[in-house]
Subunit: 337 residues, 2 copies
Amino acid sequence: MLEYRIFHLNDFTLQHGATLRGAVLAYQTYGELAPDRGNAILYPTWYSGRHTDNEWLIGPGMTLDPSRYFIIVPNMLGNGLSSSPSNTAPPYDRARFPHVTMYDNVAAQHRLVTEQFGIERLALVTGWSMGAGQTYQWAVSHPDMVARIAPFCGSSRTSVHNQVFLEGVKSALTADAAFNGGWYERQPMTGLRAAARVYAGWGFSQAFYWQHLYQRLGHTSLEDFLIGFWEGFFLDDRDANNLLTMLWTWQHADVGLTPGFGGDTVAALSSIKARALVMPAEKDLYFPPEDEVWAVGHMPNAELRVIPGVWGHFAGHGSNPDDTRFIDQGLRELMSA
Amino acid sequence: MLEYRIFHLNDFTLQHGATLRGAVLAYQTYGELAPDRGNAILYPTWYSGRHTDNEWLIGPGMTLDPSRYFIIVPNMLGNGLSSSPSNTAPPYDRARFPHVTMYDNVAAQHRLVTEQFGIERLALVTGWSMGAGQTYQWAVSHPDMVARIAPFCGSSRTSVHNQVFLEGVKSALTADAAFNGGWYERQPMTGLRAAARVYAGWGFSQAFYWQHLYQRLGHTSLEDFLIGFWEGFFLDDRDANNLLTMLWTWQHADVGLTPGFGGDTVAALSSIKARALVMPAEKDLYFPPEDEVWAVGHMPNAELRVIPGVWGHFAGHGSNPDDTRFIDQGLRELMSA
C-alpha cells in the first residue's frame, strides 16, 4: 500500500490552455521542515516512477538525510497518483487527458511548496531522468527560489534522438489494436509488453548486456530480464494513457518553452542562477553526456561530472551501489558548497 | 524492375533440419570472371537489402571495380528475392518458413560460387551489417577459400544488446493484431510502421539527430524523416514474415555455432585464415566498435579500423560520401596487401 498525501490544486490551468478541475498533486515528505524553512529539498519523480521509487537516495548517512533536510517528493502529473488519465473524472479522463508540460509540473509543485509549506527558497532540486528535466525547469521557472540543482541522467531539452527513441516506445504501445485510441476497457497488454521490450535496449548500455549484468539484478537469463524486469516494469500498475501522457511531456520538454524565452533554450539556460552539478551517465543511450556538456556550457555556475560505468541510463535508478555512491557524493559536495 | 539471376539450390537442407524444396538464391554479378577465376569478390546483402542496395560500393574507379573484379552479390535468404516466406510454396510458406542461420546463407552461397562459377578461392568477402555477419561466416565455414574479409558495421556474433534491440523491433511489428501470427492477407501496416519508428532511433547516432543530418538525406523535418525514410523503408515491398525471418537469422548469428566449434565463438574466430580488415563505425549503436575490438583480438591476421563520424550504423549504407570513401580506401589497401 502506497502512503502519500494529496495537495489540492483545484482548478489548474495548463500551459496549453486546458483546465484540470479538481486537480491533485500526490507527494510524500521525509524529515522535518526547519523553523526558518531553509532546509527544503525537492526531488521530483521520473517516467512512470512514484515517490517510493526515489527513496533509494534518501536515508540516514546519505546526503539526503531526513534528520537534516525536509525532502519533498512530488509525483509527476500523469504518473497515476497525481492527476492522470487514469484517475481524472470525465470529460478530461483517459484519452482526453490534456497535454502536460514540464512547466506545468513545476507550476503545480511550486504551489505545493509555497502554499502548503510556505517555503520561499529550496536548498536543492534534484532528480533522475524526467526528474532531471523538472529540476532544470525549476531553475528556469523560479531562478531566485532555487539555491542548487543536481539533474542526473536527464536534460533541459529533450534531444531529437531522444524524441525518436520515445517515438519507438509509443509506436509499439499503440500498435496494439486493444489500445483503441486510448478508449480501452482493459490495459493493452500486448502493446505494453512490446513497449517494454523496445525500452529494454535503451535503458541499459551495450556493455551492461555484454557483461550480463542483469544477473546482478537477480535475473537468470536475458529472457528472464526482459519479462521479469522490463515487462514487469510496464505492467506494475501502469496505465497506457498515463504512460503516453508522461511520454508527451518528455518528448516536448524544453526549458526554452518557458514563457518569456520564446523557444530560446540557450537563453533559458543562461538565466539559471542556481549552482548546478550536472551528472550524466557515461553510457546513457538517450541522455548522452555530450548533450549535457552543451547545456553546462550555457549555464553560468555549473559543473559537469560524468557518472562512470556501464549501467547507462539506469545509473540513476538506484540499482547499482557504485553509481549510487557517486551520485550521493556529488550531492554531498554540492550541498556543502 | 529488379534484374537478377536465379541459382537453383533445389532441395536445400537447413542447419536446423528443415528442407526447403525448390530453394533458390537470387544474385547479380558485376564484371567478368577472369580465366583463372582468381578475381572473384563476394558481397552479401544486409537486413532487408537487395543486391541493388549494394551497388553504391561498386563502380569504375572504386576498389570494387567491375573492370577488374568479378563481384557476386547474393541476396540473403528471406529477403524476398532468394527463398523467403513470401515466395515459397506451401507447406513451408509464410509463417511456416523455417529458421535460417548465417551458416545456411553461406552454405547456399558456397554452392552458387562453386557449382555455378567453379570458383575455388575468393579474393575478398565483404559486407555491411548482416552482410558483415555473412562475411565472418564465410571465413569460418571455408577458411581455405577466402583470401581476405572486410566486414563493416557488423559482427561475428550478435551481442546480447543487439538481440534486445531486435527484440524491440520484432515486438513492435508483431503487436499489430493484423500480423495474425504471420497468417495475414495484407501486410500489417501499423506493425511495420511501428517497427520502422523503433528502428529509427537505432540506425543513426544521437549526434546525427542532434545535427539534423537527416536534412542531408533530403528530409525536411524529423517527422518527414520518420515517415519518408523509415516508414518508407519498411513498406518498400517488404513483407512482415520476411523481415522476421531475417531478424531471427540476425538474432541468432554466431560463428561459434558453425558445426565443429560447439558454440565456441573464440575458437571459430581463431580459425580464420583470411587477412581481415574490420571496420566498425564509431557511433554505431548496435554494432559498437568495442565488440569488434574483442573479435579482432581473437583473429590471427586482423586489423581494426574505426569509421569516424556520426552516421552510426548507416555509415555503411552508402549515404554519406565521407564514410563511403573511408570504406573504399580500406578495401583498396586490403586488396593491395
